[in-house]
């Protein structure tokens, strides 16, 4: 789904949730198929951006204004199919950092250390897209937070 359509749908949904002076709420009405499809498409759009960033696509990096690697290495070179990232084990004590860490902390560690790239803001669109791709790739993995 195009961004404009997602935006329209989002605006309509938000508008529907506001009743004069009341806080925004969700789930007042059952979701129809079109709404669910729009939600999924909004998610998959980010997954695809994250996939391209994860695989070192220069156009994606340019578009997101990030520099994830200066060595020619891409995330996927050590993590094909986003394997061995183990997003389901975060947060945890991360040995390389000697600190309690989230997945986003670990993504930035990989960008800075092995890839020698430029760390990204932990709430940036690029980080959210990378996170979306990694979680999507590992869909079905069993949650095991804290596991080393």
């Amino acid at each position: 789904m195009k961004k404009a359509n997602v935006l329209k749908l989002g605006v309509a949904a938000v508008a529907a949730l506001f009743v004069a002076g009341q806080p925004a709420v969700a789930h007042k009405e059952p979701h129809d198929a079109a709404t669910l499809k729009a939600f999924e498409e909004a998610f998959m759009e980010q997954v695809i951006i994250g996939d391209n960033l994860f695989h070192g696509d220069p156009d994606a990096e340019k578009k997101m204004n990030v520099s994830l690697s200066k060595t020619g290495m891409a995330c996927a070179m050590c993590h094909p199919f986003a394997s061995d990232v183990h997003p389901h084990e975060f947060p945890k004590f991360q040995e390389q950092m000697s600190a309690f860490a989230t997945l986003r902390d670990m993504i930035n560690w990989c960008i800075e250390k092995p890839n020698e790239g430029v760390k990204i803001d932990s709430d940036s669109p690029a980080m959210k897209a990378l996170e979306a791709y990694i979680y999507w790739s590992n869909k079905g993995s069993q949650l095991d937070p804290g596991r080393h």
Partner: protein, 365 residues
């Protein structure tokens, strides 16, 4: 097709055993001559070959994935280290195999850089290509610099065969009107889907293989070098050769066949009938183990430190000593194999479920 080198006399009976152990003498610092100061901790996969006529040893180096020095010297440094270590062993090695993926993107600068670095090694060198060497110019520069595959030669009672398992991909580029650079780029992602099941021997080369072994005694040892494994470990990453069944059918009558391969960047071991398969390290970086398909006979390598570029990589030495063959991973760390699940490259994945990437999905043929 191919080239034939020397012939050798035939051997007699063959007996096989296999065991894997840590070499305590090297751990204690005895070291291999010329490499004692390099902190090797060797592991041996031992295969007894009863009739081997003379002792000898050779080295395997592969998967250097060189970038131009202007972009990244990390992989150059590691390839250089491996080549220096091989060179330091001098005449203790009869020859060296380079098992493919010298370059990262098939760039002439990368291939020429590799050619220059390899000049450090004065012993005889044999080459088979990797997919990263091939798909920019379809192997033209590779063949010019290092010679064409397949080939065979006999050495001290063993027949050695080198196959090209990378140059026979189905045409994934014409329908999409890919430039040579795009064709190479699609091939260079291990988990990409655009290049499809590219690893293969092809009908013509299979016919060559049939002929290449037709005059060899079924009791004598054969060693077959390939970039990709001659069995199916995990097809989505081309940890296989798509016509491995046809190759095994040709090799199956022989009582002692060893396939030594690269591409997987990790210790990997399997046996099927009279064939055994030994996966080699990369000098560049280690791959994680595939989510499925790792055989029970494989002892998983230990989890390595992603912050240390020299961890989890190295080269291999294969030695005939009397009637025994020792395969050694020359990994640049103290411990190669995990001894507990928490440290294991496969045990670590017990809760992991994966799905293929999405951004490049689609089959062009």
């Amino acid at each position: 097709m191919g080239k034939e080198k020397e012939e050798s006399p035939q051997g007699a009976s063959v007996s096989l055993t296999r065991r894997t152990f840590l070499n305590k003498s090297l751990a204690a610092g005895a070291g291999v001559a010329g490499a004692g100061a390099l902190n090797f901790f060797d592991t041996f996969t031992t295969i007894g070959v009863a009739h081997a006529q003379q002792s000898f040893s050779f080295a395997w180096v592969s998967d250097t994935h060189l970038y131009p020095k202007t972009l990244n010297t990390r992989f150059v440094d590691k390839a250089t280290r491996a080549f220096k270590e091989v060179a330091a062993m001098g005449q203790k090695l009869d020859f060296m195999i380079f098992g493919g993926d010298l370059a990262q993107l098939g760039d002439p600068v990368e291939l020429q850089l590799g050619n220059d670095l390899l000049k450090e090694i004065k012993i005889k060198k044999h080459f088979i290509p990797g997919e990263h060497d091939w798909y920019l110019d379809m192997g033209a520069l590779w063949n010019k610099l290092f010679g064409a595959s397949p080939w065979r030669f006999d050495h001290k009672g063993v027949r050695f065969i080198g196959l090209d398992t990378v140059g026979n991909a189905p045409d994934y580029w014409s329908a999409k009107k890919m430039s040579p650079k795009d064709r190479m780029g699609a091939m260079s992602a291990l988990d990409g889907s655009l290049a499809g099941p590219w690893a293969g021997i092809g009908h013509k080369q299979l016919q060559w293989l049939q002929t290449a072994v037709s005059d060899w005694s079924k009791a004598n040892p054969l060693i077959v070098f390939t970039h990709t494994p001659l069995w199916e470990c995990y097809a989505p990453w081309n940890f296989w050769t798509r016509d491995w069944r046809e190759a095994q059918e040709i090799l199956q009558p022989f009582k002692n066949v060893t396939n030594i391969h690269g591409h997987v960047h990790q210790p990997l071991y399997n046996e099927m009938g009279n064939m055994r398969f030994i996966g080699q390290l990369a000098t560049s970086w280690p791959w994680p183990y595939a989510p499925t398909g790792v055989p029970p006979l494989t002892k998983a390598m230990i989890r390595v430190d992603p912050g240390d570029p020299f961890d989890g990589v190295g080269w291999g030495q294969i030695g005939w000593t009397g009637n025994r063959v020792d395969h050694q991973y020359k990994m640049w760390r103290k411990q190669v194999y995990a001894t507990a699940e928490v440290d294991s490259g496969t045990g670590d994945n017990r809760n992991q479920v994966l799905q293929p990437r999405i951004a490049d999905r689609g089959w062009p043929y």
